[in-house]
Amino acid sequence: MNAAADTAGGTPILRAESVTKRFSGLVSVDQVSFEMRKNEILGLIGPNGAGKTTLVNMISGTLRPNEGALYFEGQPIDALAPYKRAHLGICRTFQVMKPFPGMSVLENVTVGALFGRDGGETAMAKARESARDWLDFTGLSHRIDARADSLGGPDRKRLEFAKALAMGPKLLLLDEVMAGLNSVEVEEVIELIKKMRERGVTILVIEHVIKAIRSLSDRVLVLHHGQKIAEGDPAAVLEDPQVVEAYLGRRRH
């Protein structure tokens, strides 16, 4: 299946060419190269501080790489401001949820519909309608008029999803959306991510919940101290001794 996707993919939707990010001496992401094919789910894992979020920040545009380059659908994107990348269809969620606190749930999602891909929908009524649809899709339609900051944990995640989806993303970057959820809620989110993929979205999933990575990912990429230490089929990668060592430490003899 992987081989088929390789040849049929054409231009990768995202290509990173030895991307490096330094924070005054600390190399957070070190010469990482990878590709994402259209409509695949790539799992990005690694211990805390491995550089996963930094990588996502560089793709979404809040950080710029010191070296290397990123290409979206073949076009270099490093010079583009975050909002321009959103217009291209790159869209992310935040590890620390960032709803607009003073707005209602519906308004939050409407912002996504108004400003997303290609500059978004210009008519307010249509944007609101599509926001309602996405709230249905994520199962949040019962809280439509609630203030965003009154939502509890799982509902906040749903809101974050609905906002991202309303933007009409081609590439969705999910930064630890399952953290803090119980196993039932994790199952729900897994289903949600699968539903998104069925709609043709390409998804990068950062996650510590290995069960989720295993059941979702077509491929897995492992970062450790900013370096790519493994990439490929989830089962194989998760068995890789180097990966096990990164997570669990060296086995004593």
């Binding site: 909002y83 935040f94 607009f100 409407t110």
Partner: protein
């Protein structure tokens, strides 16, 4: 149901149009002043209320509008409307020039920078011979309170309609998104720079027009009155008291405070000076979203409400 405030507003505006035929001279002075202050509060609301950028630099635009009109009329004997246009051009150009650097600052830093700006602008103008240096300029005297009144009322209506449009438009949603979380707004596709500058320019536009009308009406201006920082404080307090980020809050706030101020100034003038200070303290503590808090039925008291308000005002 949502259109009820607009119906009330329409009736009020129609009634206000006829005020000059019944009001005394003193009443007219007060009314023109109150209308212009309401324009200032409403214009401030675009930037401070919707976009969340607390500006103490709006008096710069007011001063430029004032001086544009005064220079055109006093130095070049041009008609009033040319003066207004000149004032608006000065203010808008100024907004564009300062907008790019200054709107990169956030929170208190933005407020401090704008405060410095208005002080600097006053100093610059008082050294320009064309602006009458620090002596000021005398404009041609006219007795046309009815015209000034109707002009001010018209300006307030247009300004409020603009804000009403903003409150239900894509542009307004972008501004509110910036207010709530600028970084998140950016990653969601809001072109934050363009949106902020547009808000600043709109704010400058209406503020300068109010300044121009005021200059011709008062017929004498000097740097101290044109770039008066307390005027800016009043705009902020009126908007915050009424409810920043709402369509009618700043209007209600400014009319109520203008009335109280006028009453106090004529009876106990020292108390009038205290008024705005007291109002800001009470408003911040008890109604962080302005009078809208009271009308909206959000009634709560006790220490929890107090703490919540302090959090929301980020004190």
């Amino acid at each position: 149901m949502k259109s009820l405030p607009y119906v009330i507003a329409l009736v009020v505006v129609v009634l206000l149009v006829f005020v000059p035929w019944v009001a005394s001279d003193v009443m007219m002075q007060f009314a023109i002043d109150a209308l212009l202050l309401a324009v200032l509060a409403q214009a401030w609301n675009i930037l401070g209320g919707f976009t969340g950028y607390v500006s103490f630099g709006n008096s710069v635009f007011y001063g430029l509008g004032t001086y544009g009109t005064a220079i055109a009329m006093a130095q070049y004997q041009l008609p009033f409307w040319v003066g207004l246009v000149l004032g608006v051009i000065l203010a808008v150009v100024c907004a564009l020039l300062i907008g790019f650097p200054i709107l990169r600052l956030r929170g208190p830093y933005f407020a401090i920078a704008t405060l410095g700006l208005s002080a600097a602008m006053g100093a610059i103008v008082s050294n320009m011979p064309i602006a009458g240096s620090n002596i000021g300029l005398v404009l041609p005297l006219v007795r046309a309170d009815t015209m000034f009144y109707e002009l001010s009322l018209g300006l307030l209506v247009v300004c409020t309609l603009t804000v009403a449009w903003i409150s239900r438009s894509r542009f307004g949603m972008g501004l509110v998104a910036i207010r709530e979380d600028e970084d998140a707004a950016g990653t969601m596709g809001v072109n934050t720079t363009t949106f902020k500058i547009t808000a600043l320019v709109l704010s400058a536009f209406f503020t300068a027009l109010a300044g121009g009308i005021h200059a011709y009406w008062i017929s004498f201006i000097d740097p101290a009155s044109a770039f008066d920082p307390t005027l800016n404080v009043r705009m902020v307090i009126m908007a915050v008291f009424g409810g920043p980020g709402t369509v009618f809050g700043p209007l209600v706030g400014s009319f109520i405070l203008s009335t109280i101020y006028e009453y106090l100034a004529s009876s106990i003038s020292t108390a009038a000076a205290l008024l705005f200070g007291l109002v800001i303290v009470l408003a911040v503590i008890f109604m962080p979203r302005g009078l809208a808090n009271m009308v909206g039925g959000v009634r709560a008291h006790g220490p929890r409400f107090f703490l919540q308000n302090i959090r929301e005002n980020r004190l």
